[in-house]
């Protein structure tokens, strides 16, 4: 039986339904995650289901007690999620766009991430922070960041980046069940992409990379939406007789170092494709991993394919220039690929 296909958005929604059914301690908090909070009219309640409709329908199934619309006060309600997690709940809180982290970072990184350590392991904080990332919608500099590198920088957090509908479902389930704080990064450009997703319980282990495509010539580590762009590039390169191995880490904290290192040991070449800002980023992190732990295998300079060191511009023309595309990956791969003849 071929697996049914659903969208990334539907996969997220399905994970919520299943996890909320499974565990009454799972609650959701965020701005307009249901919509029209406090209204008696059932047609109005659930007016949005989140700004991109990811949580649509949940309030009808689980009620307003478990679908808590919040005022615009991210520090308070994300901090409340952390406090509730430390008090035995399993909250999933939405930060609408990752660029808004500047108004609430403290509650995530100084409270959520550090409580357990500061308390000598005598607390746990099973909170999931969902947020949206990525350029491509003309949303300009404050609504298009990725910034997962920053969260990865902080010890105490786990960071997951689903690139496919199946991983969107499986990693969300894993994040919710995890006893540590997990930041779950949804790429807003992926919401409408479709793919096969198991119907029943589906959990993707945190810390396990996925070899999206096997290959022999160059290891291409691609993150989030860049996995799809790398697949495009792979097809183009295939025609040139170049075979790339695409590794999707899926979780970046913890990082599945072994899978990346094994791949590089095989291909002896590394290109990292990352939509986040280039400095002190996952791109540099992965390259440093290889340069310190598999240096002897590396047979050409590593390459980063990232946006330039600029904020995200608005104009479609500029944004297109900004976001890495298949051509740039092709170029980077061609530059390091062993000459075949």
């Amino acid at each position: 039986m071929p697996e049914r296909e659903i969208t990334y958005r539907e996969a997220i929604n399905e994970a919520f339904v299943q996890e909320m059914q499974r565990d009454p301690n799972v609650i959701l908090l965020g701005e307009d995650i249901a919509g029209a909070p406090g209204r008696d009219d059932p047609d109005m309640l659930d007016a949005w289901g989140g700004v991109f409709g990811m949580t649509k329908g949940l309030v009808g199934k689980f009620g307003s007690q478990r679908m808590l619309d919040t005022p615009i006060s991210e520090s308070a309600f994300i901090g409340a999620a952390v406090g509730a997690a430390a008090s035995g709940m399993r909250p999933v809180v939405e930060l609408m766009f990752v660029g808004f982290c500047g108004v609430c970072l403290d509650q995530i990184v100084n409270q959520g991430a550090k409580l357990r350590y500061m308390f000598g392991g005598r607390a746990k904080v099973p909170v999931t922070v969902r947020t949206t990332i990525g350029a491509g919608l003309g949303a300009a500099a404050q609504h298009s960041d990725c910034l997962y590198s920053i969260f990865t920088h902080y010890p105490g957090l786990k960071c997951v980046l689903p690139a496919t509908p199946a991983d969107a479902k499986g990693l969300l389930a894993a994040a919710i069940r995890d006893d540590d704080p997990v930041i779950y990064f949804e790429n807003k450009v992926l919401y409408e992409t479709k793919g096969p997703v198991p119907e029943g319980e589906h959990v993707v282990e945190i810390g396990k990379a996925n070899i999206v495509r096997q290959g022999t010539d160059v290891t291409v580590v691609a993150l989030s939406r860049m996995v799809n762009v790398a697949l495009e590039a792979a097809d183009i390169l295939n025609k040139e007789g170049i075979s790339i191995e695409i590794v999707d880490p899926r979780t970046i904290s913890p990082l599945d170092e072994q899978t990346i290192l094994d791949s590089v040991r095989k291909t002896e070449r590394l290109v990292v494709v990352d939509e986040d800002h280039p400095r002190c980023s996952m791109a540099t992190d992965i390259i440093a991993l290889v340069a310190t732990k598999a240096f002897e295998y590396l047979d050409a300079p590593a390459r980063m394919v990232t946006p330039p060191h600029t904020p995200v511009p608005f104009s479609p023309v500029l944004e297109k220039f900004y976001v890495p595309d298949a051509q740039r990956i092709v170029k980077a791969v061609m530059a390091v690929v062993p000459q075949k003849r």
Partner: protein, 322 residues
Amino acid sequence: MPIKKDRLKWIYERMCLIRKFEDHVHDEFAAGAIAGFVHLYAGEEAIAVGTMANLRDDDSITSTHRGHGHCIAKGVDINAMLAEIYGKATGACKGKGGSMHIADMTKGMLGANGIVGAGPPLACGAALAAKLRGTDQVTACFFGDGASNQGTFHESLNLASIWDLPIVFVAENNVYAETTSTDYSMRVPNIADRAVAYGIPGVVVDGMDVFAVYDAAAEAVARARKGKGPTLLEGKTYRYYGHFEGDTILYRTKQEEQSYKDRDPILQFHKRVLEEGLLSEDQLAKIDQQTDTTLKKAKIFAAASPFPEPQECLEDVYVKYP
């Protein structure tokens, strides 16, 4: 004090221009000609215009994601605004900012802003600069009902209060923050009730009535200009369109919408100036025509403008970087 005739004309002109501009952007978005997140100001014109009618060119404002109205009222060139919204090279920000970030420092317009509640701290800074330099410039800080629950609101009102900063905090209470009504998001009837926490005046006005806004703003601006510190001024208003373009607006009723449209700020103004003989039909009609022309020119300008060169992406990050 009665408003001078020229000011009245200006008020009508700006309100019409905002309305027409927003209606046009709405249509263009629906037609797929505009990308990104676009938040329209139609319905709220009286607040921006009534406030700005009391400001000088060298006064400053901070704005929100719903910034077109503030820009137009503060005198930002609408050609450059419209071009910006399309992402053209001739835009107010060379196409880099888009609808959510239109700015014009030469007009004291310190930028629309995509972060809810980000304006009040910046406004404190503009006002502090004026105060330290001993000028009598005033800063008006616009923000929504939703923003008044954000921590920056509290911090900034407190800072402005203890430093007697020349600011008018203008709360645009349009009943909703996205889908969330003020009934749900706060337990006090008025945002202005929060002024008590900072020992500053809090004033509520009908934000659909530009005369009411004008009068209250006049007092608040005068107070600020005299160095007597900030005021929290709240206008009760409504946005006619959805939260952003594309919003299905399932969270409010048609009756509610109509009840505000019945008190439309432009119609109200129109009616009152005629009734009181402040302006004539002819004068109003002429302004109507002029604003049509202004907008038409802006459309032509924006349409004819080129997109930026892709490499423009790399410029303007720093004044100087190796």
